[in-house]
Amino acid sequence: MRRLRNLLWLSWRDYLNEWQMSGCFVLALAAVLGPMLILFGLKAGIVGNMFEQLINNPHNLELRTVGNGRFDRPWIEALRERPETGFVIPRTRSLAASVDLKSDDAADIVPVELITSAPGDPLLGDVAQALASPTDVILSASAAEKLRARVGDEIDASVARRFHGKRQREHVTLKVAGIAPSTASRRDSIFALLALAEAIESFKDGIAVERFGWDGDPPRDDSRRLYAGFRLYARSLDDVTTLSGYMQDLGLNVRTRSEDIEMVRSMDRNLTMIFWVVALIGLIGFSVSLGASLWANVDRKQRELSMMRLVGFHTGDIVWYPVFQSLLTATLGWALAVGIYFGVSKGINQLMASQLRPGEEVCRLAPEHFVWALLLTLAASVVAAALAGFRAARIEPAEGLREV
């Protein structure tokens, strides 16, 4: 132990004494590692931002069934229980989901599509919390504009049907509980609880709706109601793939935005690969140059190394002499590279700040990335020094004793 401690001390003193040379290698390492950190930071930042934009856009989490089907309540409940499911709600037939809206402040009648919703609807976010009663609706941004409606307003909704050969129209007063963000729906639509959609669908089917006092045939057993479809959102981007596979196994044709997701994923993969190729070439280049210099050092310091063997250092100790110096270079070079990275990434982020949303950074690294960089550099430097180390260990005490 004492021998090894002393050997490291000697190695350190030698390293300090040749500070110009040591410094050059530290700089050389930082010159390779610094840009690599920045490159990786840019990759992580750009791809990360793209992923975040994908995740922040709930449409990317949506799985749409094509056409109308027949799904009962237990089936949809089972779907809700799946771990991949973020949000699911039954929907009525699209033809039975059209409503005409009329407000006091707008001249025109606005036909809208009713979209079933509930608190937790990812398209609406917090706005969906306002849906409490069957007459509460959330207007899409364009519908709200056309109706000149504000939150709290009452609007008249009417639905029409042909019943026993006669045209019939019924009215119901709805309360504007909220206005949806413009990203939720580009069309004129209203978001309402399932109860309202069911009522309108029943009405169109010629069935009486007691709640709103609409006449018609006697109601059927509501628990055995069949839905034309559902609105389904996965919990995460990865879950989209899983859920989509599950639905396809059931023979359901679903549409997702998986191409967008896959594009970002494949870009991430390609960029990562390019990064690793560059990083590998850089690190190998550095290792070779450091290794060559340490190898030459063994020649240059042969006399001193053999002197150290003469005063009692073991063969195994001497290996550590170049290895320790190499580890010093790795650590110092890494520290300098991290410093360079922080300086440059700060500059890049400031430069790009205007094109980014608040809190976004175009160049960013997680703490573990720095740790990985350090470990990789240490590993590369040990490999570089190992050959020199074994060469140094083979030096016999007698070799350097006499002038040749």
Partner: protein
């Protein structure tokens, strides 16, 4: 005139309890052959006995096998064949069978033995350029975990106390040799081996340093072996000279050297 630094190894006279000589080196029929460029050189030691505390001179022109013998005596070169090779670092200690260590490949034990028992003065320097004079002298003590206090006294006696905080490159050749002597003595070895320690100095400095060296090992009661190419360098210092018989081949090269003493 010298301080007595002895506290690591006892300074018993070089005689055992019943008065017989304690041999630090006992070699019998030790042979080392070397082959270089098709020429074989053979060093033969029929019998060599060096007692503890003795001062030995090994005189011969360069290439006669002095260094080969020194390498054997410092356990850095393996003998080709051995009748007996024993090393006894102090009177009370059991003799160590060096050849057994070579056979068992116990090289680390030989390194430890060198660290503890041996001091070595090279022809030039052999100092570590990145250490100060103080650190260079103290290196052997440091390796053994001994306190570094003795270094200052030693430097004072060697006349280099003014240079303790300098690096070797700031010193003259003579001063560097004094530092080398300091390092070889600092850990109180049983034996100091000096290979042409003054060959690189001018004659006056050489004589002064050699005299100082011998005086110091004497006062410290350390066994010493000095190799030199000229007897006149050490003539007046009271050393026992080993006998070298040199057989030359037809071309005038040294074919065999026989050492005894």
């Amino acid at each position: 005139m010298f301080h007595d630094y002895r506290h690591d190894h006892c300074a018993t006279p070089a005689r055992g309890g019943n008065g017989e000589r304690v041999l630090i080196y006992h070699l019998r029929d030790v042979v080392k052959t070397r082959e270089a460029e098709g020429v074989t050189f053979k060093l033969r030691v029929p019998s060599l006995q060096i007692a503890l505390g003795e001062k030995i001179a090994l005189i011969g022109e360069s290439g006669c096998g002095k260094s080969t013998l020194l390498d054997l005596l410092t356990f850095i070169s393996r003998p080709t064949s051995v009748g007996a090779f024993r090393f006894r670092p102090e009177p009370g200690a059991a003799p160590i069978d060096i050849q057994a260590h070579w056979k068992q490949k116990a090289y680390d034990d030989l390194s430890d033995l060198r660290m503890l028992r041996l001091g070595y003065v090279m022809q030039t320097g052999g100092l570590l350029p990145y250490l100060t004079v103080r650190e260079n002298i103290g290196l052997s003590r440091r390796l053994l975990g001994l306190d570094p206090d003795a270094v200052d006294e030693l430097a004072y006696d060697l006349g280099i106390h003014k240079h303790l905080d300098k690096k070797p490159f700031q010193l003259s050749t003579g001063e560097r040799q004094r530092v080398a002597i300091g390092r070889a003595l600092a850990h109180r070895p049983s034996i100091v081996i000096a290979d042409e320690p003054t060959a690189s100095l001018d004659p006056i400095a050489a004589q002064r340093i050699m005299a100082l060296f011998i005086e110091m090992v004497e006062s410290l009661n350390i066994t010493v072996i000095v190799a030199s190419h000229a007897w006149r360098h050490v003539k007046s210092l009271g050393l026992r000279r080993l006998k070298l018989r040199i057989h030359k081949d037809a071309d005038g090269g040294v074919a065999e050297t026989i050492v005894s003493g």
